[in-house]
Protein backbone atom coordinates (compact mmCIF):
# COMPACT_ATOMS: atom_id res chain seq x y z
CA UNK A 1 0.00 0.00 0.00
CA UNK A 2 2.75 2.48 0.91
CA UNK A 3 4.51 1.57 -2.36
CA UNK A 4 1.60 3.03 -4.25
CA UNK A 5 1.36 6.02 -2.00
CA UNK A 6 4.99 7.09 -2.56
CA UNK A 7 4.11 7.60 -6.20
CA UNK A 8 1.39 9.93 -5.08
CA UNK A 9 3.84 12.01 -3.03
CA UNK A 10 6.05 12.41 -6.09
CA UNK A 11 3.22 13.92 -8.12
CA UNK A 12 2.27 16.16 -5.21
CA UNK A 13 5.52 18.19 -5.17
CA UNK A 14 5.13 19.15 -8.82
CA UNK A 15 1.72 20.71 -8.15
CA UNK A 16 2.80 22.44 -4.95
CA UNK A 17 4.03 25.63 -6.53
CA UNK A 18 0.79 26.50 -8.32
CA UNK A 19 -1.57 26.64 -5.30
CA UNK A 20 0.70 28.20 -2.78
CA UNK A 21 -0.76 31.64 -2.70
CA UNK A 22 -4.52 30.89 -2.74
CA UNK A 23 -4.29 27.91 -0.40
CA UNK A 24 -3.01 30.06 2.40
CA UNK A 25 -6.10 32.28 2.39
CA UNK A 26 -8.55 29.32 2.35
CA UNK A 27 -6.66 27.56 5.09
CA UNK A 28 -6.73 30.49 7.48
CA UNK A 29 -10.42 31.17 6.81
CA UNK A 30 -11.35 27.51 7.44
CA UNK A 31 -9.38 27.26 10.61
CA UNK A 32 -10.85 30.56 11.83
CA UNK A 33 -14.38 29.26 11.26
CA UNK A 34 -13.61 25.97 12.93
CA UNK A 35 -12.11 27.77 15.89
CA UNK A 36 -15.30 29.79 16.39
CA UNK A 37 -17.42 26.67 16.07
CA UNK A 38 -15.31 24.76 18.59
CA UNK A 39 -15.26 27.57 21.14
CA UNK A 40 -19.02 27.97 20.86
CA UNK A 41 -19.46 24.22 21.36
CA UNK A 42 -17.16 24.27 24.40
CA UNK A 43 -19.09 27.11 25.91
CA UNK A 44 -22.43 25.47 25.18
CA UNK A 45 -21.48 22.05 26.51
CA UNK A 46 -19.79 23.29 29.65
CA UNK A 47 -22.61 25.66 30.47
CA UNK A 48 -25.06 22.79 30.21
CA UNK A 49 -26.51 21.75 33.60
CA UNK A 50 -26.57 17.92 33.88
CA UNK A 51 -30.16 16.86 33.01
CA UNK A 52 -31.71 13.84 34.73
CA UNK A 53 -30.84 10.71 32.78
CA UNK A 54 -34.09 9.24 31.42
CA UNK A 55 -32.65 6.33 29.44
CA UNK A 56 -30.38 5.21 32.33
CA UNK A 57 -33.27 5.20 34.79
CA UNK A 58 -35.48 3.33 32.31
CA UNK A 59 -32.76 0.75 31.66
CA UNK A 60 -31.67 0.18 35.27
CA UNK A 61 -34.52 -2.21 36.30
CA UNK A 62 -34.33 -4.10 32.99
CA UNK A 63 -30.70 -5.17 33.21
CA UNK A 64 -31.64 -8.23 35.17
CA UNK A 65 -33.76 -9.49 32.31
CA UNK A 66 -31.01 -8.95 29.76
CA UNK A 67 -29.37 -12.31 30.49
CA UNK A 68 -25.92 -10.68 30.63
CA UNK A 69 -24.26 -9.01 33.59
CA UNK A 70 -22.06 -6.48 31.82
CA UNK A 71 -24.22 -3.45 31.15
CA UNK A 72 -22.46 -2.46 27.89
CA UNK A 73 -22.92 -5.89 26.34
CA UNK A 74 -26.52 -5.97 27.61
CA UNK A 75 -27.26 -2.68 25.90
CA UNK A 76 -25.23 -3.62 22.89
CA UNK A 77 -26.81 -7.00 22.19
CA UNK A 78 -30.16 -6.91 23.94
CA UNK A 79 -31.65 -3.51 24.44
CA UNK A 80 -30.18 -2.01 21.25
CA UNK A 81 -29.61 -5.31 19.52
CA UNK A 82 -30.98 -3.92 16.24
CA UNK A 83 -28.18 -1.32 16.16
CA UNK A 84 -25.59 -4.01 16.56
CA UNK A 85 -27.22 -6.11 13.87
CA UNK A 86 -26.98 -3.18 11.47
CA UNK A 87 -23.45 -2.51 12.64
CA UNK A 88 -22.40 -6.06 11.78
CA UNK A 89 -24.13 -5.58 8.47
CA UNK A 90 -22.05 -2.43 7.91
CA UNK A 91 -18.86 -4.42 8.45
CA UNK A 92 -20.15 -7.09 6.07
CA UNK A 93 -20.98 -4.29 3.64
CA UNK A 94 -17.43 -2.93 3.87
CA UNK A 95 -16.10 -6.37 3.08
CA UNK A 96 -18.56 -6.67 0.22
CA UNK A 97 -17.57 -3.26 -1.11
CA UNK A 98 -13.87 -4.06 -1.00
CA UNK A 99 -14.38 -7.42 -2.66
CA UNK A 100 -16.42 -5.78 -5.41
CA UNK A 101 -13.54 -3.37 -6.01
CA UNK A 102 -10.73 -5.59 -7.16
CA UNK A 103 -8.93 -8.90 -7.12
CA UNK A 104 -5.72 -9.25 -5.08
CA UNK A 105 -3.11 -12.05 -5.14
CA UNK A 106 -1.65 -12.29 -1.59
CA UNK A 107 1.39 -14.14 -2.85
CA UNK A 108 2.40 -11.25 -5.11
CA UNK A 109 5.39 -9.69 -3.25
CA UNK A 110 4.69 -6.26 -4.76
CA UNK A 111 1.46 -6.11 -2.76
CA UNK A 112 2.82 -6.53 0.71
CA UNK A 113 6.35 -5.38 0.57
CA UNK A 114 7.52 -2.21 -1.00
CA UNK A 115 10.21 -2.79 -3.64
CA UNK A 116 12.54 -0.44 -1.70
CA UNK A 117 12.84 -2.83 1.24
CA UNK A 118 13.07 -6.14 -0.68
CA UNK A 119 14.40 -5.27 -4.18
CA UNK A 120 16.33 -8.51 -4.63
CA UNK A 121 14.49 -11.46 -3.10
CA UNK A 122 11.20 -12.21 -4.86
CA UNK A 123 10.71 -15.31 -2.75
CA UNK A 124 9.74 -14.84 0.80
CA UNK A 125 10.90 -18.04 2.40
CA UNK A 126 14.69 -17.66 2.52
CA UNK A 127 16.73 -17.73 5.80
CA UNK A 128 17.49 -14.54 7.72
CA UNK A 129 14.86 -12.19 9.18
CA UNK A 130 12.02 -14.33 7.82
CA UNK A 131 13.01 -17.00 10.34
CA UNK A 132 11.88 -14.73 13.18
CA UNK A 133 8.56 -14.18 11.48
CA UNK A 134 8.05 -17.94 10.99
CA UNK A 135 8.67 -18.74 14.63
CA UNK A 136 6.51 -15.84 15.75
CA UNK A 137 3.66 -17.26 13.68
CA UNK A 138 4.12 -20.72 15.22
CA UNK A 139 3.90 -19.35 18.76
CA UNK A 140 1.61 -16.36 18.61
CA UNK A 141 -1.27 -17.49 16.37
CA UNK A 142 -2.60 -20.22 18.74
CA UNK A 143 -2.17 -17.89 21.71
CA UNK A 144 -4.08 -15.13 19.93
CA UNK A 145 -6.91 -17.46 19.08
CA UNK A 146 -7.13 -18.58 22.71
CA UNK A 147 -7.21 -15.05 24.05
CA UNK A 148 -9.80 -14.07 21.42
CA UNK A 149 -12.00 -16.93 22.61
CA UNK A 150 -11.69 -15.81 26.17
CA UNK A 151 -12.36 -12.22 25.36
CA UNK A 152 -15.56 -13.10 23.46
CA UNK A 153 -16.73 -15.29 26.30
CA UNK A 154 -15.79 -12.68 28.93
CA UNK A 155 -18.08 -10.17 27.19
CA UNK A 156 -21.00 -11.60 29.14
CA UNK A 157 -19.86 -10.27 32.54
CA UNK A 158 -17.12 -7.75 31.98
CA UNK A 159 -15.73 -5.58 29.20
CA UNK A 160 -15.18 -7.66 26.07
CA UNK A 161 -17.32 -9.34 23.52
CA UNK A 162 -17.59 -10.18 19.89
CA UNK A 163 -15.87 -7.10 18.48
CA UNK A 164 -12.84 -7.29 20.72
CA UNK A 165 -12.45 -11.04 20.05
CA UNK A 166 -12.97 -10.44 16.36
CA UNK A 167 -10.34 -7.72 16.31
CA UNK A 168 -7.82 -10.07 17.85
CA UNK A 169 -8.66 -12.79 15.35
CA UNK A 170 -8.23 -10.19 12.59
CA UNK A 171 -4.78 -9.43 13.91
CA UNK A 172 -3.89 -13.12 13.82
CA UNK A 173 -5.19 -13.32 10.27
CA UNK A 174 -3.04 -10.40 9.15
CA UNK A 175 0.03 -11.94 10.75
CA UNK A 176 -0.70 -15.17 8.86
CA UNK A 177 -1.12 -13.32 5.57
CA UNK A 178 2.21 -11.56 6.02
CA UNK A 179 4.02 -14.70 6.99
CA UNK A 180 2.51 -17.42 4.89
CA UNK A 181 0.84 -15.86 1.79
CA UNK A 182 1.03 -19.18 -0.16
CA UNK A 183 -0.74 -21.19 2.55
CA UNK A 184 -3.48 -18.51 2.94
CA UNK A 185 -4.10 -18.20 -0.79
CA UNK A 186 -4.93 -21.89 -1.05
CA UNK A 187 -8.12 -21.38 1.00
CA UNK A 188 -11.06 -21.72 -1.42
CA UNK A 189 -12.95 -18.33 -1.77
CA UNK A 190 -16.31 -20.01 -1.08
CA UNK A 191 -15.09 -20.83 2.40
CA UNK A 192 -14.01 -17.21 2.91
CA UNK A 193 -17.42 -16.02 1.70
CA UNK A 194 -19.08 -18.42 4.15
CA UNK A 195 -16.88 -17.14 6.92
CA UNK A 196 -17.80 -13.53 6.23
CA UNK A 197 -21.51 -14.27 6.00
CA UNK A 198 -21.59 -16.54 9.07
CA UNK A 199 -21.77 -13.86 11.79
CA UNK A 200 -24.49 -11.64 10.32
CA UNK A 201 -26.46 -14.74 9.24
CA UNK A 202 -26.46 -16.15 12.76
CA UNK A 203 -27.51 -12.82 14.24
CA UNK A 204 -30.34 -12.54 11.71
CA UNK A 205 -31.45 -16.15 12.25
CA UNK A 206 -31.53 -15.69 16.01
CA UNK A 207 -33.54 -12.50 15.63
CA UNK A 208 -36.04 -14.20 13.34
CA UNK A 209 -36.31 -17.25 15.59
CA UNK A 210 -37.51 -14.93 18.36
CA UNK A 211 -40.74 -14.67 16.39
CA UNK A 212 -41.05 -18.40 16.94
CA UNK A 213 -41.02 -17.79 20.68
CA UNK A 214 -43.87 -15.30 20.38
CA UNK A 215 -41.81 -12.14 20.90
CA UNK A 216 -40.92 -9.22 18.67
CA UNK A 217 -37.92 -9.27 16.38
CA UNK A 218 -34.71 -9.73 18.50
CA UNK A 219 -36.82 -10.34 21.65
CA UNK A 220 -34.86 -13.30 23.09
CA UNK A 221 -36.94 -15.76 25.12
CA UNK A 222 -36.53 -14.66 28.72
CA UNK A 223 -34.87 -17.50 30.62
CA UNK A 224 -32.16 -18.47 28.07
CA UNK A 225 -31.34 -14.98 26.71
CA UNK A 226 -27.74 -15.29 27.86
CA UNK A 227 -27.02 -18.43 25.80
CA UNK A 228 -28.57 -16.88 22.68
CA UNK A 229 -26.35 -13.83 23.14
CA UNK A 230 -23.31 -16.05 23.55
CA UNK A 231 -24.14 -17.83 20.29
CA UNK A 232 -24.40 -14.47 18.52
CA UNK A 233 -21.15 -13.33 20.13
CA UNK A 234 -19.12 -16.27 18.91
CA UNK A 235 -20.61 -16.22 15.41
CA UNK A 236 -19.93 -12.52 15.12
CA UNK A 237 -16.40 -12.83 16.43
CA UNK A 238 -15.42 -15.35 13.79
CA UNK A 239 -16.85 -13.42 10.85
CA UNK A 240 -15.45 -10.14 12.18
CA UNK A 241 -12.01 -11.72 12.27
CA UNK A 242 -12.26 -12.96 8.71
CA UNK A 243 -13.78 -9.70 7.44
CA UNK A 244 -11.03 -7.62 9.04
CA UNK A 245 -8.39 -9.76 7.36
CA UNK A 246 -10.03 -9.35 3.96
CA UNK A 247 -10.30 -5.60 4.65
CA UNK A 248 -6.48 -5.65 5.15
CA UNK A 249 -5.88 -7.69 1.99
CA UNK A 250 -7.91 -5.11 0.06
CA UNK A 251 -9.56 -7.31 -2.60
CA UNK A 252 -11.10 -10.68 -3.37
CA UNK A 253 -8.83 -13.68 -4.08
CA UNK A 254 -7.68 -13.75 -7.71
CA UNK A 255 -9.53 -16.59 -9.55
CA UNK A 256 -6.58 -17.02 -12.01
CA UNK A 257 -4.18 -17.63 -9.12
CA UNK A 258 -6.33 -20.44 -7.77
CA UNK A 259 -6.55 -22.28 -11.06
CA UNK A 260 -2.89 -23.17 -10.52
CA UNK A 261 -1.50 -20.84 -13.21
CA UNK A 262 1.50 -19.78 -11.21
CA UNK A 263 2.48 -16.53 -12.85
CA UNK A 264 2.92 -13.74 -10.20
Amino acid sequence: MNGGLTGMKKRKQSMKGKFKRKDWQFATLTSLLIATLVTFLCWAILKEPPGEDLTAEALAPLFVQSGVTSPVTAILLNFRGYDTLLEVMVLFLAGLGIWSQATVDPTNPLVFSSPATHPTKPNFHGPGPELILATLVRILIPLMVLVAGYLTWAGGFQAGGAFQGGALLGGAGILLILAEPQRISTIPPALIRFGIVLGPAIFLLVGVSCFGYGGNFLQYPQPGAGSWLLLIEFGAAISIGITLTTLFVGGRPDPKRLKGTDQP
Binding site: T30, S31, I34, V72, D83, E87, I98
Partner: protein, 105 residues
Protein backbone atom coordinates in the same frame (compact mmCIF):
# COMPACT_ATOMS: atom_id res chain seq x y z
CA UNK B 1 -16.45 18.24 36.94
CA UNK B 2 -12.95 19.14 36.00
CA UNK B 3 -12.05 15.67 34.56
CA UNK B 4 -14.96 15.70 32.15
CA UNK B 5 -14.30 19.32 31.07
CA UNK B 6 -10.72 18.36 30.23
CA UNK B 7 -11.97 15.38 28.18
CA UNK B 8 -14.59 17.53 26.49
CA UNK B 9 -12.20 20.26 25.50
CA UNK B 10 -9.69 17.80 24.12
CA UNK B 11 -12.45 15.95 22.27
CA UNK B 12 -13.67 19.20 20.67
CA UNK B 13 -10.11 20.11 19.76
CA UNK B 14 -9.69 16.70 18.16
CA UNK B 15 -12.94 17.23 16.21
CA UNK B 16 -11.82 20.70 15.10
CA UNK B 17 -8.39 19.56 14.00
CA UNK B 18 -9.90 16.62 12.15
CA UNK B 19 -12.40 18.86 10.33
CA UNK B 20 -9.68 21.37 9.47
CA UNK B 21 -7.52 18.61 8.10
CA UNK B 22 -10.37 17.20 6.03
CA UNK B 23 -11.16 20.53 4.46
CA UNK B 24 -7.71 21.93 3.80
CA UNK B 25 -5.50 18.96 2.89
CA UNK B 26 -5.70 18.03 -0.73
CA UNK B 27 -4.05 14.62 -0.33
CA UNK B 28 -6.53 11.72 -0.16
CA UNK B 29 -4.77 9.84 2.61
CA UNK B 30 -4.58 12.92 4.83
CA UNK B 31 -8.29 13.44 4.34
CA UNK B 32 -9.09 9.88 5.40
CA UNK B 33 -6.89 10.21 8.48
CA UNK B 34 -8.54 13.54 9.29
CA UNK B 35 -11.94 11.82 9.18
CA UNK B 36 -10.70 9.28 11.66
CA UNK B 37 -9.52 12.05 13.93
CA UNK B 38 -12.96 13.67 13.81
CA UNK B 39 -14.59 10.33 14.57
CA UNK B 40 -12.41 9.76 17.59
CA UNK B 41 -13.21 13.25 18.83
CA UNK B 42 -16.93 12.50 18.62
CA UNK B 43 -16.47 9.12 20.35
CA UNK B 44 -14.57 10.78 23.18
CA UNK B 45 -17.39 13.20 23.83
CA UNK B 46 -19.81 10.30 23.60
CA UNK B 47 -17.96 8.42 26.31
CA UNK B 48 -17.76 11.44 28.55
CA UNK B 49 -21.52 11.98 28.20
CA UNK B 50 -22.05 8.69 30.01
CA UNK B 51 -20.06 9.84 33.06
CA UNK B 52 -21.88 11.25 36.07
CA UNK B 53 -20.77 14.34 37.96
CA UNK B 54 -18.30 12.48 40.11
CA UNK B 55 -16.60 10.75 37.21
CA UNK B 56 -18.29 7.37 37.80
CA UNK B 57 -20.06 5.86 34.77
CA UNK B 58 -23.83 5.84 35.28
CA UNK B 59 -25.30 5.63 31.76
CA UNK B 60 -23.86 2.85 29.52
CA UNK B 61 -25.87 3.63 26.36
CA UNK B 62 -23.22 6.06 25.04
CA UNK B 63 -20.63 3.37 25.49
CA UNK B 64 -22.64 1.00 23.35
CA UNK B 65 -23.01 3.76 20.79
CA UNK B 66 -19.24 4.30 20.82
CA UNK B 67 -18.65 0.65 20.07
CA UNK B 68 -21.05 0.75 17.14
CA UNK B 69 -19.49 4.01 15.94
CA UNK B 70 -16.00 2.59 16.06
CA UNK B 71 -16.93 -0.44 13.97
CA UNK B 72 -18.66 1.75 11.45
CA UNK B 73 -15.73 4.13 11.13
CA UNK B 74 -13.37 1.16 10.71
CA UNK B 75 -15.39 -0.17 7.81
CA UNK B 76 -15.78 3.22 6.13
CA UNK B 77 -12.08 3.93 6.49
CA UNK B 78 -11.24 0.53 5.03
CA UNK B 79 -13.44 1.22 2.00
CA UNK B 80 -11.96 4.70 1.62
CA UNK B 81 -8.40 3.40 1.76
CA UNK B 82 -9.09 0.72 -0.82
CA UNK B 83 -10.61 3.28 -3.16
CA UNK B 84 -7.64 5.60 -2.59
CA UNK B 85 -5.22 2.77 -3.38
CA UNK B 86 -6.99 1.78 -6.57
CA UNK B 87 -7.04 5.40 -7.75
CA UNK B 88 -3.36 5.77 -6.96
CA UNK B 89 -2.40 2.53 -8.68
CA UNK B 90 -4.25 3.61 -11.79
CA UNK B 91 -2.58 7.04 -11.64
CA UNK B 92 0.86 5.48 -11.17
CA UNK B 93 0.28 3.01 -14.00
CA UNK B 94 -0.80 5.85 -16.32
CA UNK B 95 2.03 8.06 -14.90
CA UNK B 96 4.57 5.25 -15.70
CA UNK B 97 3.23 4.92 -19.22
CA UNK B 98 3.47 8.67 -19.75
CA UNK B 99 6.90 8.60 -18.05
CA UNK B 100 8.17 6.16 -20.67
CA UNK B 101 6.58 8.34 -23.32
CA UNK B 102 7.82 11.77 -22.19
CA UNK B 103 9.86 12.31 -19.12
CA UNK B 104 8.84 15.85 -18.16
CA UNK B 105 6.48 14.66 -15.34
Amino acid sequence: MTITTGYIISALLLFGIGMNGLMTCSHQLRKILAVNLMASGVFLILIVTGFGTDGSAIDHVPHAMVLTGIVISVSTTALALTLACRIQQRLNRSADETAEGNDDD
